[in-house]
Subunit: 252 residues, 2 copies
Amino acid sequence: MSARCLAPRGLEAALRKIGDERYHHLHPFHQRLHSGGCTIDEVRAWALNRYCYQRTVPLKDAAILARMDDVELRRIWRQRIHDHDGEIGDAPEGGLRRWLVLTDGLGLDRKYIVSMDGALPAVRFACGAYLQFVRERSLLEAIASSLTEMFSPMIIQQRVAGMLAHYDFITEETLRYFDHRMSEAPRDADWTLHYVKEHARTPQTQKAVLEALKFKCGMLWAQLDAIEHVYVNGAPAPGAWAPGTGVTEPMT
Amino acid sequence: MSARCLAPRGLEAALRKIGDERYHHLHPFHQRLHSGGCTIDEVRAWALNRYCYQRTVPLKDAAILARMDDVELRRIWRQRIHDHDGEIGDAPEGGLRRWLVLTDGLGLDRKYIVSMDGALPAVRFACGAYLQFVRERSLLEAIASSLTEMFSPMIIQQRVAGMLAHYDFITEETLRYFDHRMSEAPRDADWTLHYVKEHARTPQTQKAVLEALKFKCGMLWAQLDAIEHVYVNGAPAPGAWAPGTGVTEPMT
């Protein structure tokens, strides 16, 4: 990264290039998941560990909200928390409860999932790093770390189509989390990209937002590395979820 | 873990059992490293990533020191910081500079190592989680997380003997970090074990110190999983250190 200041359009191109090179659509585990190559236990391991990430999302959004002095910003940003936490009562259920519909559909016990007892340490550490990042870095960097949403509609389309086509234990109903994300993520990404292009107007702040997006891509990638290592390559991991644990409905 | 209160001897036995089951002496990457199965680039990847952990050690000790209200405790605990940071000037050099003697010996550029630019995200996240743990948990849990030192003399003996026997690019000189740890770690572990046995006298605090040791074993294990996944299994990892980068002296 040179010390040259980019035009907003150039900054956007640099951000998109990071997605092209580092976003987890490139990860072999996702290619396996979407193409039908996973066993049900590999899908369970993914859904169980990703709950840890889903649970982190409204927490990081609340941490960012708590750093926004500008009420106009807060009115916009808080929608993300509504989207994931849902409302008191049943509807809208929100993203977190929609994720549990997926783990239900995979025959996993809700209490076990929510306890995160079976989540891999590496996944917890990655999620913890994300929370720390949005608490400790500048507000601009914290906001910019959400820019992975620019790339998520692409992966969600592949995922939904691929999983429905290849796994008889997956239904449109259990994947309904992703239907909502298909409209929420582009709305959020458009707003964030506009904000970042408006506010990153020096070489230093542009470098910081590019690094923030690299950090976020790294934390998503590291989760899949950990899942692949333990559950696809079969590496032992003391205390990690083992197939059978927390499974209430045998669905093989 | 039942809600029964253990006698101090029973608590020690439960702590040692965690080490037997979860300490990273069991990790396949260590078995590979110690038995001569690693390439020089795998040893470099290990030393480069472990610098990230070494760098964390005096920071976590300072964070713990900053939480000790009792000056008697502080006078004891601060020795750990001296051991790793060394003195102003050249001697004693301390553990961090001794680690750089190892990376020097592997032909790695010091500036590159210290920048941690090539460290894997998963390793950074694990180290960050350790810092968070000692800042946020009770002082007793923060102290107890150091109890992995009970198990380190065993692994150090295997490592030094194995690496000297199997790698012509390793010398007694480059492994001198471990000579010092052979006396420092048992001294620290004895003190910590005594402290924990004295202060964990309820089922709740005993459960907390056992969980603290499990957490620490998990953060050590996760680092090796990440190194093994990327550098032994050859999984792609965007932005990770690639053999050749930061190598000043070709030593193959």
